[in-house]
Symmetry: C2
Subunit: 225 residues, 2 copies
């Protein structure tokens, strides 16, 4: 009824929408999915015709409610799988993303339900990202902010580390940047790189802005303004 690829586009648009508040541009989707922009344009035609996106030519798209529901379903599958793989199949935090990406389109509702049961209906995946509920109601925005919005001296608690790519996640995991960990921001370099110290590991990590952008944190307890 709805191809894997279409699901991928809807999921990509959903995730880009979580970050910007603006209409999502063709080029952003193209980059996210690693295809060319004409390919995106023609897919947007189809998605619009099917009622999954609202479109203004030359000005990008937003998801309709139906589009968002589909995206939430895919995201739910993805995050449940990530949680299941780490909890029951001994996968490492950093490795689960690709496996989940391949499986998310191919599991039944029954499988989804059984996995959720086995995990006790979790609400957060191993990267700290919220798992959409089974009714697929749009969750509200998490109130964490990107670590890039803080300054030298701030103490923050990691809430979520977006699951983009295994190498980056491995690096972060190796240096103790995981959901729940407290970080003190040591330096913000002029070109955007952030250096932080983890309270647990007595070591500091440097995060180029592209990486830092995907680390969401809440203000920590120690330095309350």
């Amino acid at each position: 009824m709805l191809s894997d690829v279409m699901e991928d586009y809807l999921k990509a648009i959903y995730q880009l929408q979580r970050e910007t508040d603006e209409r999502i541009k063709t080029s952003a989707i193209a980059e996210e999915l690693d295809v060319t922009s004409p390919t995106v344009t023609s897919m947007l035609d189809k998605l619009e015709e099917r009622g999954f996106v609202d479109r203004e030519k030359y000005r990008g798209v937003t998801l309709t409610d139906e589009g968002e529901t589909v995206a939430l379903e895919v995201v739910r599958h993805h995050r449940l799988l990530e949680a299941y793989l780490t909890e029951h199949l001994d996968y490492d935090w950093a490795e689960v993303h690709e496996e989940a990406d391949r499986l998310e389109h191919h599991i039944s509702e029954d499988f989804e339900a059984r996995v959720a049961d086995a995990l006790g209906q979790p609400t957060v995946d191993p990267h700290g990202s919220p798992i959409p509920s089974a009714d697929l109601e749009p969750p509200e925005r998490p109130d964490g902010k990107s670590v890039t919005e803080f300054e030298e001296g701030d103490v923050v608690v990691v809430e979520e580390v977006a699951d983009r790519d295994a190498d980056v996640l491995s690096y972060l995991a190796d240096h103790g940047v995981e959901p729940g960990v407290e970080l003190e921001i040591v330096e913000v370099a002029p070109f955007g790189m952030i250096t932080a110290r983890s309270s647990e590991h007595d070591e500091s990590v440097s995060l180029p802005d592209t990486v830092a952008h995907h680390v969401r944190v809440a203000r920590g307890a120690e330095i309350e303004q």
Copy 2:
């Protein structure tokens, strides 16, 4: 590198080859995969070109060694998944086939290995079918025979119930026809239907020949000739 669909064709050819000893005909593959024969012909062209099948035009195909290796990999995935789903996700014997069919093409080698570990390197799936080993060496033919080759009065032990379709499997499970169960053949009707009594359930089952053909059994202990 090799599409899901190609894998499906190789798996289908493999499974048909287990049953016949002869070259596999276009029409048999078409029926197995529910596509038309011209579709099969053109896929066979591609598979031949890629070296996965030996072909004689108008006379069917056989798998090459490489083709068989691919098929064994897919079958291994399928049967490991079936075993995992029944053991760890509470699936019923009869339900696992379709789920495994969708997932078998989308799991990594890593996933395969972890599932095999979690199950303790099983050699048989829940339907009694052998799971190809990780090295993908062709297993020898099982020596069980189809229940259709026995006669009234024979006592047999079920070894394998092919996992074709959920409804049939449910019926069999409901009537106690499962791997390991002993059956006494009560009647062989002239049109091929077999009626048997399970020692455990004190009940008899009737199996039309199309169903019976997929129940493999070994001669039982009680009436030794």
